[in-house]
């Protein structure tokens, strides 16, 4: 589903490369933690996956898309095959939870008559059907992140990318969101989650890629465990 081959990424302003000769593969159905300190390259890796950045060298393939050769008008098509979740939730403040989720369907030109049913289904999946008409400011951090996950899932993407999704949450909410992500993974969606919450990584026991200074220094999937 995701394949990085000898990928490096240099930013014009940085002296050291953000990513340096990174090679790995994520197969169908996998759940992968990306760990490492701030600035280790986790976000750069995710940005390459969703086409926000292009590799300086090497080859990146995501769900059939060749990121290095991605044209501007192909980016929306790639994004519709991905669900993306951020630390800051990224919800539109003046829309209710259900409107935020519906928005991702409207954007992709989904027929208006099928939207309500799909929104209801996915909100039920994240356990927030009773808050469908609440605005983001009326929801707790954990609930907002669930809405963001519902929005990421509503297009049935084969891959879910999450950049520090629990970074702003307390421990209980963190466990809740993590449980939700593993449930989603169990239904067949690839989940790549960047985090520096080592407790969570240890608790989860999923495949872990550790980055340091732009290089992969540890991959628990290399020796077979955790990789599907």
């Amino acid at each position: 589903m995701i394949r990085f081959t000898k990928v490096s990424k240099h930013y014009p302003t940085g002296t050291a490369p953000a990513l340096d000769d990174v090679t790995f593969h994520v197969a169908r159905g996998e759940f992968v933690f990306l760990t490492g300190h701030s600035g280790a390259g986790k976000s750069s890796l995710l940005k390459l996956m969703y086409g926000d950045e292009q590799p300086s060298s090497g080859d990146v393939r995501v769900s059939g898309f060749h990121i290095g050769a991605l044209k501007r008008d192909e980016v929306p098509r790639l994004r519709r095959r991905l669900g993306i979740v951020f630390q800051d939730f990224g919800l539109l403040e003046d829309r209710t939870a259900s409107e935020n989720v519906a928005f991702a369907l409207e954007v992709t030109g989904t027929r208006a008559d099928v939207i309500p049913a799909r929104v209801t289904k996915v909100l039920a999946q994240v356990g927030l059907l009773h808050k469908a008409e609440s605005f983001p400011r009326e929801l707790s951090g954990g609930e907002q992140q669930r809405v963001a996950i519902a929005r990421a899932l509503v297009n049935d993407p084969p891959i879910l990318l999450a950049d520090e999704p629990t970074g702003n949450l307390d421990e209980r909410a963190t466990r809740g969101v993590f449980q939700l992500l593993t449930d989603i993974n169990a239904l067949g969606t690839v989940v790549v989650m960047a985090t520096h919450d080592l407790d969570l990584v240890r608790f989860g026991g999923q495949r872990t890629l550790e980055l340091r200074d732009g290089r992969i220094v540890f991959d628990s999937g290399k020796d077979g465990e955790g990789s599907a």
Partner: protein
């Protein structure tokens, strides 16, 4: 289409203060341009009225045979600058003097002989109503042997020329200044809108919206804002014009307001401003995200 409209209205509500600000900006820019246009329009028609009176008068020796005058009139009519030539006989000159110069009515009343010479009055075509052309025509008229003297009110025609030049220059300068100020103000408003919308545009991009899907509502919003600004500006212009026309300020002449075409142009210009603003502000962000 329904979605486009809903999104545009949402964007409008979301940034209400900024929306009001940019409408005000557009309205103000158009209002000032409109006022300026009104002044220019009226100044031009005033100058045209005055220029109507630019004419060259050739006084003719008494006793010149009318046949000779007739031939000469035809020649003069053929000058490229000349609109029409009129012969004013001694009698007509006296009648006119009695009518127009009220102060001398008595003096002209019991005259034994008519002191006024006959003349040819030459009106010039609109594009030649200035000192240089009037002077040239006068010079050529002096060449006719029956012409005693030629007058064209040189002083005031020259002054009219100067006035026209000043009007054109001041018009250009003020117009440019206002245009510049409007552009700067609109630019600042756009910049604020851009900052305000950066996050929103980014979220749209991340959930897979195409560029045109993102642009659409913003552009529609810009056009609507421009239209509202144009309507407000037209109303303000009409109000100011109404107040001015009612006062009259002893101008002694009728004032002209915009015709429907000019009002439509003002509205279209407003829509263009709004659209350009949105295009620039969204375009810049789409490139970055």
């Amino acid at each position: 289409m329904k979605l486009l409209w809903r999104e545009a209205m949402l964007a409008f509500k979301r940034t209400r203060t900024l929306s009001v600000l940019s409408i005000t900006t557009i309205a103000f820019a158009l209002f000032v341009s409109g006022l300026f246009g009104l002044v220019a329009l009226n100044l031009r028609s005033a100058l045209r009225n005055v220029a109507e009176r630019v004419e060259v008068v050739a006084f003719v020796f008494r006793g010149t045979p009318s046949q000779q005058l007739q031939v000469a009139s035809d020649d003069i009519s053929a000058f490229p600058e000349v609109l029409e030539v009129r012969y004013v006989s001694e009698e007509e000159a006296l009648t006119r003097a009695r009518r127009d110069l009220v102060e001398f009515q008595e003096a002209y009343q019991d005259l034994e002989i008519n002191p006024l010479p006959p003349s040819l009055e030459i009106r010039l075509r609109p594009e030649f109503r200035d000192a240089r052309h009037a002077g040239e025509v006068a010079e050529r008229l002096r060449g006719f042997e029956f012409v005693e003297d030629v007058r064209y009110g040189r002083d005031w025609v020259e002054r009219l020329d100067a006035l026209r030049q000043i009007a054109a220059f001041v018009g250009l300068a003020i117009g440019l200044a206002f245009a510049l100020v409007s552009i700067v103000i609109i630019g600042v408003t756009i910049r604020m809108t851009v900052l305000h919308r950066a996050r929103e545009i980014r979220i749209m991009r991340l959930v897979g919206a195409t560029d045109w899907f993102i642009r659409g509502p913003f552009l529609l919003e810009g056009i609507i804002k421009g239209l509202i600004g144009g309507v407000v500006a037209s109303i303000l212009c009409a109000a100011v014009f109404g107040a001015f026309a009612a006062g009259q300020f002893g101008l002694g002449m009728g004032l002209t307001f915009f015709g429907p075409l000019e009002v439509i142009a003002l509205l279209l210009f407003g829509m263009l401003l709004g659209l350009t603003g949105s295009l620039v502000s969204v375009g810049r962000h789409l490139k970055k995200v």
